[in-house]
């Protein structure tokens, strides 16, 4: 039924199967939208946030998806600025994942504020001293960049590409894509960093507060670094999930291997920096405010904020994936690669959780106690909403757009018509052959 829209030379599941898949995810999406409407209509009393937890699940989700979406800017940086040509085979998917992450972050921010109709005040009455102002500006601009990077992929759709205007627009956009990639890197450096600055500048919250350089606390640099390090883990993780669901190999091993290796070394050096930061903070910064390291970790067995959380973040989800990914034999073993990227994704999410939730859980006034928080179902539904949205957008993009340039070569179809078409296309100068010389984002 929709075969005319499906890229040439690739096989997709029957439409009924696709519709069922979209329908199931659509139901989850509808649940999230219902919760979102409740929040919009009734207000933030639909959440379990309170006066101690002004920031909670949503801000964590924001920080986490932005860190995970960091794969887009860092892969773009490696591809266009460092010149790692192999990554052209995964850059489209990295951009799509980044687009989903950033649009989700903006959506969450939309209902996370108490007066959504005043959201534009952050731009109009901007306070240049606030890290959140910088985040808002850069985030919005970078989302624009990601949209510009995603549009040519949409225009690559078989039907749209037949329209000369779209074909030429797409071509011309590809020509200048390196400029946008560089802009994205610049913007990402600042907003990822500013998100780190959000807890880092809170000198009234000794758990989050860090010294730093000029106006930038160390968390500014650590957040940018961790997004660049762990973002590619998420890109690989989602690619692997996509390959599992579609039961196809979509990206060649050498591409994954290169990205995994770079990610591994980035995590390795990040973890060293993070450990140094933690040691300095625990031994110098916190004591200067009257706190010991152990004041920040609950001694209650089974506590959400016991010392286990630090061990998990730095050790299990930091050092371990770094060691796996920098060891060629291990990262080339599929099970270890899966484990490493999963732990990496978990690690950066854990870091963002700690830097948002634990900062607020810890009592600062000596006569107060730890503060507890459990999200409401509305908060959970609205946090799952972007996941369902992401699955749907990936599914639709995968079905109708040439996201994976190596798919045809890796999954040849033995249909005479298709083979003839492929041969014909290969014979034509500038035509797209089974293995395009350039990826869709660059053709």
């Amino acid at each position: 039924m929709d075969s005319a829209l499906i890229p040439k030379g690739v096989k997709r599941c029957p439409i009924w199967q696709f519709a069922l898949w979209i329908g199931a995810n659509g139901a989850v999406l509808a649940w999230g939208v219902f919760a979102m409407l409740l929040v919009y209509i009734k207000g933030l009393n639909q959440t379990n946030m309170n006066n101690a937890y002004g920031f909670a699940l949503w801000i964590w989700a924001d920080l986490a998806v932005i860190a995970l979406g960091g794969g887009a800017f860092f892969t773009g940086f490696l591809r266009y600025i460092v010149g790692k040509d192999e990554l052209k085979s995964i850059i489209n998917y990295a951009v799509l994942i980044g687009f989903i992450c950033y649009s989700s972050a903006l959506m969450i921010l939309g209902f996370d504020i108490g007066q959504p109709l005043r959201g534009w005040f952050i731009f109009w009455h901007a306070n240049v001293h606030s890290m959140l102002t910088e985040v808002a500006f850069c985030l919005t601009c970078y989302f624009g960049v990601l949209t510009i990077e995603y549009i040519p992929m949409v225009l690559e759709n078989r039907k749209l590409d037949k329209i000369p205007f779209f074909h030429n627009l797409s071509h011309n956009m590809h020509e200048i894509m390196a400029v946008f990639a560089a802009t994205g890197v610049f913007l990402s450096f600042f907003h990822q960093g500013s998100l780190g600055g959000v807890p880092g500048v809170l000198f009234g919250r000794p758990f989050g507060f860090r010294e730093g350089v000029l106006v930038w606390p160390w968390t500014f640099f650590l957040f940018t670094w961790s997004a660049a390090a762990f973002g590619p883990c998420f890109t690989i993780f989602i690619t692997k999930i996509t390959e599992t669901i579609t039961r196809k190999k979509l990206v060649k091993d050498n591409v994954i291997d290169l990205l995994a290796k770079i990610s591994g070394w980035m995590i390795f050096f990040y973890i060293i920096a993070k450990i140094i930061d933690t040691v300095y903070w625990a031994s110098v910064t916190a004591p200067s405010k009257g706190f010991t390291f152990w004041d920040f970790y609950s001694s209650n067995p089974g506590s959400a904020y016991g010392i286990w959380i630090l061990i998990a973040e730095l050790g299990v989800c930091g050092v371990l994936p770094a060691l796996i990914l920098i060891t060629p034999k291990l990262r080339q073993t599929q099970s270890f690669l899966w484990l490493a990227v999963f732990l990496g994704v978990l690690g950066v999410c854990l870091n963002r959780w700690v830097m948002v939730l634990q900062v607020l859980a810890i009592p600062v006034l000596p006569f107060e106690n730890w503060f507890a928080y459990l999200p409401s179902w509305q908060e959970i539904a609205t946090t799952i909403l972007p996941v369902a949205y992401g699955i749907i957008l990936i599914s639709v993009s995968y079905r109708y757009l040439p996201i994976f340039p190596q798919e045809r070569e890796l999954n040849p179809i033995d249909e005479p018509g298709t083979a003839a078409e492929a041969a014909e296309a290969e014979a034509q100068p500038g035509g797209s052959g089974p293995e395009p010389e350039l990826s869709p984002a660059e053709s």
Partner: protein, 268 residues
């Protein structure tokens, strides 16, 4: 920059006098049109600009002691006016006034991001989780000098700034440039039956608040009174609420100390 002849309004609360009666809280509710709900038992969701903590020394009878600690906004000056909450607000909806030392909140500009709440270690910033609903007839009793707040914005103690405006207006009408000490007093100060709260200009040596707090301007307002302390002074928040107590465990309860520095843990 601090203006010439700038005032620095602050407060001294004598904890030896405070009985924990809560009159300051009630007066604050009435003066500032603070909303409340029919069931306001969850104090993490309710709004109280002035909150009275109940501390104890953690010792068993007969050494058990209690202390009530009223906590309004600390109107932190930080370093050169960089109070923890003001610098983080992305929409400039809160301001540190160098002319008065008051940290203000602009309700119609606040869009409810709650970053200031995360920044404040004293929990003085509270969120309007609901729209205010006043009991029948109570709208008639609201203070016309204070705007009521809507759902989705943060609010906090303003040192009853409307009273300062009114006092200044009165002085202007009478041809005076300055107001007297007793012309501007906060509602909690006037309501305290024990006279535990003293309010005034910390920069003015003639004001009682200055004489009690003895702020040292060379050390960011640190008190020279051995019985005085400020909450969480070590964080560098530079608050303008000074507490007095003759009991050492109470004074130590105002800040965090390492074991080596003598730590007496207070309990709430």
């Amino acid at each position: 920059m601090e203006k010439k002849n700038a005032k620095k309004f602050g407060m001294v609360i004598d904890l030896d006098k405070c009985t924990g009666c809560g009159a300051c809280m009630v007066a604050c509710y009435a003066e500032n049109n603070i909303p409340f709900r029919e069931d306001d038992t969850d104090k993490m969701l309710s709004i109280s600009w002035m909150h009275v903590y109940r501390l104890n020394n953690g010792k068993p009878f007969p050494d058990y002691e209690e202390c009530f600690l009223p906590r309004p906004c600390q109107h932190c000056e930080g370093h050169h006016g960089h109070s923890p909450c003001v610098s983080v607000c992305p929409a400039t909806a809160t301001d540190y006034d160098m002319a008065t030392g008051i940290v203000s909140q602009i309700y119609p500009r606040c869009f409810g991001c709650r970053y200031c709440m995360a920044a404040c270690p004293y929990h003085v910033r509270q969120f309007n989780w609901w729209d205010p609903i006043w009991p029948d007839g109570m709208e008639q009793m609201l203070n016309p000098g204070v705007s009521v707040r809507m759902r989705g914005v943060v609010e906090k103690c303003s040192f009853c700034i409307q009273r300062y405006q009114a006092a200044k207006d009165q002085a202007y009408l009478e041809g005076r440039r300055e107001i007297e000490e007793d012309e501007y007093q906060t509602a909690c100060t006037q309501a305290c039956p024990a006279g535990a709260i003293t309010f005034g200009d910390l920069n003015n040596p003639e004001h009682a608040v200055h004489q009690l707090a003895l702020p040292d301007p060379r050390h960011e307002g640190r008190s020279n009174n051995p019985l005085a302390f400020r909450l969480l002074e070590r964080l560098g928040t530079n608050p303008k609420i000074y507490y007095l107590s003759s009991r050492e465990w109470v004074r130590r309860a105002g800040d965090n100390y390492l074991k080596a520095e003598f730590k007496t843990k207070a309990h709430s």
